[in-house]
């Protein structure tokens, strides 16, 4: 429950309001090992604590990365940190993407907006174990070209022959020459075998519902669609009830959940 001090090693601007912080534990502290999909509670000292998606694997080779959008006082304070600053971190918490279960079949990753951040470690895992999976497809939708995350990495991924990645934006200016429309369009166009596909989705809840619907229309069984949900996590250990969603606590049973297990509650407004 006590935050462990971590130093900000670097800070990279993804968009005008979204930053990726690379963190390392202070000397004597252990590097926390986050599985793809798990989240942490990031603490800006003196301001407050918020749940943050881990966007970079915390391995010996790769620092822990957290991607934060500045939308309130705590996230603004975190985004304003500079290399050398110290923040608090609790975690890892929650469930993980079903990457072991998805082996031998195709993997369809559907990300919308900031939703690419918690999927990034899953993509890294799949690419690091590429021979264990069939076709790997990444469908990424954003509001506009200048609000896409990890642009340089998207370009690297696009250059690979063993990964199908496609990007689409809702709003396009004259300088955007890519696809325009909603991310479900990419799911319709993607080539995969629905009978042996696992789908991982993260993004705004409306997008998750329509993404799952499109996957269902393509023939992917709903019990092989997994979503990562966001809720107002406070304690992160299923005690405070802030993130209760129907009979579940998102901090404990989530954030990654099988779609058919949460679908009934997604249809209840303001839950």
């Amino acid at each position: 429950m006590t935050p462990r001090a971590h130093r900000v090693v670097s800070r990279r601007g993804e968009t005008t309001d979204t930053w990726t912080l690379a963190l390392e534990p202070l000397p004597g502290e252990e590097l926390p090992l986050f599985a793809p999909g798990q989240f942490g509670m990031l603490y800006a000292f003196g301001v407050g604590e918020i749940p943050i998606s881990v966007s970079g694997a915390s391995t010996a080779l790769d620092p822990l990365r957290c991607t934060v959008r500045s939308v309130g006082s705590v996230s603004a304070a975190l985004c304003a940190t500079a290399p050398g600053d110290v923040v608090g971190l609790r975690g890892p918490f929650g469930s993980r993407w079903p990457l072991a279960e998805a082996t031998a079949g195709d993997v369809v990753i559907v990300a919308g907006g900031l939703g690419l951040a918690p999927l990034r470690p899953a993509i890294h895992h799949v690419l690091a174990h590429r021979n264990e999976y069939g076709r790997v497809i990444v469908c990424y939708g954003g509001r506009s070209a200048d609000e896409l995350l990890f642009m340089s990495e998207l370009e690297v991924w696009r250059g690979r022959f063993d990964l199908d990645i496609d990007v689409i934006v809702d709003i396009a200016g004259p300088d955007w020459h890519g696809k325009v429309g909603v991310v479900t369009k990419l799911v319709e166009l993607a080539a995969f075998d629905p009978d042996r596909t696992f789908a991982l989705l993260c993004g705004p809840e409306v997008m998750l519902r329509f993404g799952a619907l499109t996957l269902r229309k393509r023939g992917v069984p709903v019990d092989r669609c997994y979503i990562s949900m966001e809720r107002n996590m406070h304690c992160a250990i299923a005690q405070c009830g802030h993130c209760q969603f129907g009979p579940k606590f998102i901090c404990r049973e989530g954030p990654v959940q099988r779609y058919d297990e949460v679908e009934p509650w997604l249809k209840i407004g303001e839950l």
Partner: protein, 154 residues
């Protein structure tokens, strides 16, 4: 390369057409190719054609003072144009090829006459286009929701 009929049979939008109806439609189609930047349709012009994209990528655009705004892009298997179905048969947007686009182009005026003569064909085609219109309406609604807009949390 697939014949026009085979290409149409493989598209989702024409999946309900019978073999005879597909053949009748295919007879009104011709293979065309558009260079990067060339226009398949021009806003405000008579809607004499509609297209099915075989290979490529078409942007639906309208002009604004800042330049052409792309509203949507269409891809393999998509149809381009439905203004030919409804009076006054005028195209609403520019359709511009992004890269080289191979498509099947249909003579819409002749097809309208065929649909008037053969109501079963007309009904199935109307169903096919209605399903495309509904899908694009749903997509437009999602775009209007601006789901990637900023949340107001901590």
């Amino acid at each position: 390369m697939q014949s026009i009929e085979q290409t149409l049979a493989a598209t989702r939008m024409f999946r309900n057409l019978t073999q005879e109806q597909l053949a009748a439609l295919a007879r009104l189609g011709e293979e065309v190719e558009y260079a990067d930047g060339s226009r398949l349709m021009i806003e405000g012009e008579p809607a004499d054609w509609f297209f099915v994209i075989r290979e490529g990528f078409v942007a639906l655009q309208t002009d604004a003072p800042s330049g052409a705004i792309t509203i949507e892009t269409l891809h393999n298997g998509d149809s381009v144009g439905w203004s030919w179905l409804f009076e006054p048969y005028l195209t609403h947007f520019d359709a511009r090829s992004r890269g080289v686009t191979q498509a099947i182009r249909f003579d819409a005026a002749t097809l309208r006459v065929r649909c008037a003569e053969d109501h079963e064909l007309g009904y199935e085609l109307m169903r096919s286009f209605a399903s495309v219109i509904v899908e694009r309406l749903q997509a437009t609604r999602l775009q209007l929701l601006d789901v990637y807009g900023r949340a107001t949390v901590s």
